[in-house]
């Protein structure tokens, strides 16, 4: 029960932060970070996959409503949720479902950031590809994915440090 409240709070916090602050951050005209996708990564690994997909859709669609982008973020976030179990198995091995939470502390900095990097680049690539809607501008899509992806990863790292900093 406490878990649900915590996750709901994180959901709202991430959406508010994304819509009010990050959507107004643009560097070089290309870099727009999408930190909200971290929510899909921090949900419990043992979570029901159907429920995960539905939550991902709701999350993406909420962002879409504020960005006026139809179902763009919903599509990218659902894709990320769909491949998440395979990603976890790839990064954390077969024992992945035993880990309740995936974060810097349980996985270690290296493995967690690798997980985040793959997730971010798949999500961003799909997002920018569907937005451009053709392979004509593939180079531009890749540049956008790369620049925004680096920015998002940097924010994910900061967020993780902030939440899981070593208690001294």
């Amino acid at each position: 029960m406490i878990g649900i409240i915590t996750y709901s709070a994180q959901f709202i916090l991430l959406v508010v932060f994304q819509v009010l602050i990050l959507n107004n951050v643009e560097l070089v005209g290309y870099m727009n970070p999408y930190l909200y996708l971290i929510f899909i990564l921090i949900l419990p690994a043992s979570m029901n996959r159907i429920l995960l997909l539905i939550i991902a859709f709701v999350l993406g669609f909420t962002i879409d409503i504020f960005e006026n982008s139809g179902g763009l973020h919903a599509s990218a976030t659902v894709l990320l949720a769909f491949i998440r179990p395979y990603l976890f198995a790839l990064i954390a091995g077969p024992s992945s479902t035993e880990l309740e939470r995936m974060n810097i502390r349980t996985l270690g900095v290296g493995r967690f950031m690798l997980l985040a990097a793959i997730a971010v680049f798949i999500h961003h690539f799909w997002l920018f590809l569907v937005e451009a809607f053709s392979f004509r501008n593939l180079l531009q899509v890749i540049i956008r994915t790369f620049l925004s992806g680096l920015f998002t990863l940097f924010l994910i790292y900061l967020a993780q440090l902030l939440v899981y900093r070593k208690q001294t």
């Binding site: 993406g60 669609f61 919903a74 809607f133």
Partner: protein, 275 residues
């Protein structure tokens, strides 16, 4: 049996995934303008409310810049006022005449949300049905053309700016009457592309591009931008011109919504040609 069940479970996940993707893509594609407008109106209504609250804070922080812009605009308007000119012609008599009927009305509006770094950018304005805004009306800033109203809710409206991949505005040269459609290739919010300019057109870099009468929403002669460079199409020898846009879409505050009161009359007349 167990294998079968696990297979079904996995299959069910894939089905859910594909279903949700399909729903997302339906929202992306949405061809029917009606559903689209109702959904976007709803969106505009309550995301508009949330963004308005945020904007009131931002407003305060931007006051200095807005004041400066308004002062500049005031100065420009005063310069355009009749009183600012010394009349070279002695007017003998003034006739109050009914020969002129008003064609364009202007409604001031505030930009409450906008994007400029995407392929499909949108602008949200704080004016809607209640203020007489209708889809298809023109939106201009004090220095040039911004775009066209797309969806309207009771208090808000959304705009397709020039920097939208599906935006199409008819423009012409200021100093001659060659015209062409202005669209956007998605690269930078400072430039758009004018296509299909005939090869006879005398183009000089720096030429001013203005709105043409062919786009019924815009009053003719509104500033759009200047010619930055041009290339000739090898097939039909027409020119494609890169236009430096006059409006900076990264810094929009106040805009005006223009209603052409004769637009319906014009469209009805032209529709008869197709019958």
């Amino acid at each position: 049996m167990r294998k079968l069940i696990s297979f079904l479970v996995r299959y069910f996940t894939v089905i859910t995934f594909l279903l949700l993707q399909a729903v997302a893509f339906v929202f992306i594609f949405k061809a029917q303008p009606y559903q689209r407008s109702t959904i976007y109106s709803l969106n505009a209504e309550w995301s508009g409310k949330a963004l308005k609250a945020y904007n009131s804070v931002e407003d305060y922080l931007n006051l200095a810049r807005i004041n400066k812009n308004l002062a500049a605009e005031n100065a420009a308007l005063r310069a355009a006022n009749k009183d600012a000119y010394f009349s070279l012609v002695v007017v003998k008599s003034e006739v109050v005449d009914t020969l002129y009927s008003r064609q364009y009305t202007y409604t001031e509006a505030r930009v409450i949300n906008y994007s400029y770094q995407k392929q499909n950018n949108y602008i949200t304005l704080n004016r809607g049905l209640a203020h007489g805004v209708k889809p298809g009306q023109a939106v201009v800033a004090n220095n040039g053309v911004v775009g066209v109203i797309k969806d309207v809710s009771k208090h808000y409206s959304t705009v397709i700016p020039i920097i939208h991949s599906k935006s199409l505005v008819s423009v012409k040269f200021k100093n001659n009457s060659f015209f062409g459609p202005l669209s956007w290739n998605g690269k930078t919010h400072r430039q758009a592309q004018m296509r299909d300019v005939p090869r006879e057109a005398p183009i000089v870099i720096g030429d001013t591009i203005v709105s043409s009468t062919r786009s019924k929403a815009f009053p003719p002669g509104l500033n759009v931008g200047t010619v930055e460079s041009f290339v000739q199409n090898t097939e039909d020898l027409s020119y494609e011109i890169t236009v430096d846009l006059a409006v900076d879409f990264a810094a929009l505050d106040f805009v005006y919504i223009i209603e052409n009161q004769l637009k319906i009359e014009l469209e009805n007349l032209e529709a008869k040609l197709e019958e």
